[in-house]
């Protein structure tokens, strides 16, 4: 895996191994925030951004943790540092770019304890990605998450106008839709295997 090309990593992460639809990561925000298109897109953007931050943090931390032989602190340090970093970014944004803060800020705290974020950190460590690979992976994960979120939001907005049977309302409907999307995304399996 460590020798995979960047485009391969990106394509596979966005489509074939989509974080939400193939890896079951980030399901809570996926189910929770996919009701409307106009929130789905900023949420996706904010998540992508946090993933990038998390990926950077995790890369540095992993380096430190491995160098000092403190593997057992990896998880704790990841989660604490990522959460703090996001908090920091939030503060900086609030101070220097209020517009961007208004657009993304409200989503940031929601995102911090999202398994997709930690997932990016853990997977890039497990797959021993290089620095650049890790960044591409994080962006791919974010784009994939956004894609799934936006598709889902579109479908759910449309179903708001449908007469869906009562027993299918709520989480059940969202999961079934996610299942259908996941089924459709299976078509991308193996995409980019030839490089």
């Amino acid at each position: 895996m460590a020798d995979a090309s960047l485009s391969q990593i990106f394509l596979a992460t966005v489509l074939a191994n989509n974080f939400v639809l193939a890896m079951f990561l980030g399901l809570c925000p996926f189910i929770g925030v996919s009701g409307r298109l106009n929130t789905a897109l900023p949420m996706g953007a904010a998540t992508t951004f946090v993933m990038l931050v998390a990926s950077l943090c995790a890369y540095g931390l992993n380096y430190l943790v491995t160098a000092f032989g403190l593997e057992f602190l990896r998880l704790i340090s990841y989660i604490v540092v990522i959460a703090s970093a996001v908090q920091l970014v939030e503060m900086v944004l609030k101070k220097y770019s209020p517009t961007l803060f208004r657009a993304l800020g409200i989503y940031l705290p929601l995102i911090t304890t999202n398994c997709a974020i930690l997932g990016v950190a853990l997977f890039q460590t497990a797959r021993e990605y290089s620095f650049i690979q890790a960044l591409v992976f994080a962006i791919g994960a974010g784009v994939g998450f956004t894609l799934a979120l936006v598709l889902m939001a579109g479908l759910r907005e449309r179903l708001n106008l449908a007469i869906v049977p009562n027993v299918v309302q709520g989480a059940a409907l969202s999961l079934m839709l996610a299942g259908l999307l996941s089924l459709a995304f299976m078509g991308f399996a193996g995409l980019g295997m030839g490089g």
């Binding site: 708001n160 106008l161 449908a162 007469i163």
Partner: protein, 469 residues
């Protein structure tokens, strides 16, 4: 003399059916005839176009609602028991946006009371018992020297004539021809499209009274200060075009132009787009692009009434439909009850199912035969059992997109319909431009799911109006 007309609105040749595009896209002009986008092509059913307008006799009792126009109802000038002569004003305008009403026949006022109206609710109406001896002679007039009158005089004379938009809008004509100072009108468009199926009253008027139409057109041009007038006629009425062309004045300020037959070609904004290639922005009026549109029927009638100084007491009505024995265009005195009209024209069988005032696309079904013919009634259609389809099953929207393909206003009726079904009225108004729908009916016409879209939109508009009020 033509410096007031913007370059891109330069008059087109009235010679060709295939007018070249003003932007010079000549290549496609053969394929792309000048018209608005989308729309539908319903069957014309204009069988009455071939026979001359006939005159309908007076009914024994006439009903004249005080509100036959948009605006404040007229104020009665007569009391019960008073005798009136044909043409005499029996109600006066109440303010600027209002018009007087004239007695359609000699007779005696029976009462001023609530009577059934076409829209449903009972409205204040003057009931006139017609003397059997009443003649076509107009017993009252206030002649007007049209050649020397100022625009203001003309507008006053038009208001006094009680004229409203005869195409069905019933907007007082003088108000329409009163242009606020900030707008410079360069073109008067005379709407001779009559795009509704079945209706032929305008067609016959153009054929039979082209000279009156010219007089009316010139009066209107003077009133609004337009440099030119374009009479737009659909290409299924070429005989009318020919009749008008023979009467066109030599100065070339009035032209006639043929537009493709397509519904709703006769809608103001659509016709402006077809003739001039400009689109009136949403929420704006034709005068914002320097245009005023008037119906041919209105102008032809004006051309008759104004020089003589008489009021509007009769109009041409197309009485037709599969349920009518003697279909045709009739001069019908205003106030004639529907029952009388139908008796005269003959209803084919007792199983007439639907009686529609106006055209089949936008007209209104009436519940009572006691409803009178008012100024805005251009047609009376009677559909029999065969032609009124049995209750059609309504399916959910299958998103075929036909409605989107035909909506002349560029709306998304499919989405609007689904929103309406979920009562999301705010979204309809805010995000999907419900306010721009003028209920032409194209969407419902094509909908394979038989969703009553226009009706849903009407309801939604009403709710939005009452909310914002």
């Amino acid at each position: 003399m033509k410096q007031g007309i913007p370059f891109h609105l330069k008059p087109r040749s009235d010679e060709s059916l295939f007018t070249p595009h003003p932007n010079g896209k000549r290549m496609f002009s053969f394929f792309h005839r000048h018209t608005f986008a989308r729309g539908v092509h319903p069957d014309a059913h204009k069988s009455t176009a071939g026979s001359p307008i006939r005159r309908m006799p007076f009914a024994s009792r006439m009903i004249l609602p005080l509100a036959q126009h948009i605006g404040k109802p007229a104020v009665p000038l007569v009391r019960a028991g008073e005798e009136v002569v044909r043409g005499q004003p029996i109600a006066k305008a109440d303010g600027f946006l209002s018009v007087p009403i004239h007695a359609p026949a000699d007779g005696v006022i029976e009462a001023i009371e609530l009577k059934a109206s076409a829209r449903g609710p009972w409205v204040e109406s003057i009931v006139l018992r017609v003397y059997e001896a009443s003649t076509q002679q107009v017993g009252w007039s206030q002649p007007c020297d049209i050649d020397n009158a100022s625009p203001r005089d003309i507008i006053q004379a038009i208001q006094d004539s009680g004229m409203v938009g005869l195409g069905g809008a019933t907007f007082p004509s003088h108000a329409k021809l009163t242009v606020p100072a900030e707008h410079k009108i360069h073109t008067l468009i005379v709407n001779g499209c009559e795009c509704e199926p079945y209706l032929t009253c305008d067609h016959r008027l153009m054929l039979e009274y082209p000279a009156d139409l010219m007089i009316g057109t010139r009066l209107a041009m003077r009133a609004i200060g337009a440099e030119r007038a374009i009479i737009g006629v659909e290409d299924n009425k070429l005989d009318a075009v020919e009749a008008i062309r023979r009467c066109l004045p030599a100065d070339g300020r009035i032209t006639v132009q043929v537009v493709p037959t397509k519904y709703p070609q006769g809608a103001e904004k659509m016709l402006i787009k077809s003739l001039l290639g400009v689109e009136v922005p949403p929420g704006k009026l034709p005068m914002h692009v320097g245009v005023v549109v008037n119906n041919v029927g209105t102008l032809a009638q004006l051309g008759q009434l104004l020089p003589a100084g008489v009021g509007l007491t009769e109009r041409v009505v197309t009485v037709t439909g599969p349920g009518i024995n003697k279909p045709g265009d009739y001069w019908v005195p205003i106030g004639t009850p529907m029952r009388t009209v139908l008796e005269w024209a003959g209803v084919r069988d007792v199983d007439a199912r639907e009686i529609i005032l106006g055209g089949p696309m936008m007209g209104q079904a009436v519940a009572s035969l006691d409803v009178p013919v008012t100024k805005g009634v251009s047609g009376i259609l009677v559909f029999d059992k065969l032609h009124v389809e049995a209750e059609r099953k309504i399916w959910p929207c299958i998103k075929c997109g036909e409605c989107v393909k035909v909506c002349p206003m560029g709306l998304n009726p499919s989405m609007l319909g689904m929103l309406a079904a979920r009562r999301e009225y705010e979204a309809m108004g805010a995000a999907y431009h419900l306010g721009d729908c003028f209920e032409c009916g194209c969407c419902t016409y094509v909908c394979p799911s038989h969703i009553p879209l226009v009706q849903q939109f009407r309801v939604a508009k009403g709710i939005l109006r009452s909310k914002s009020a």
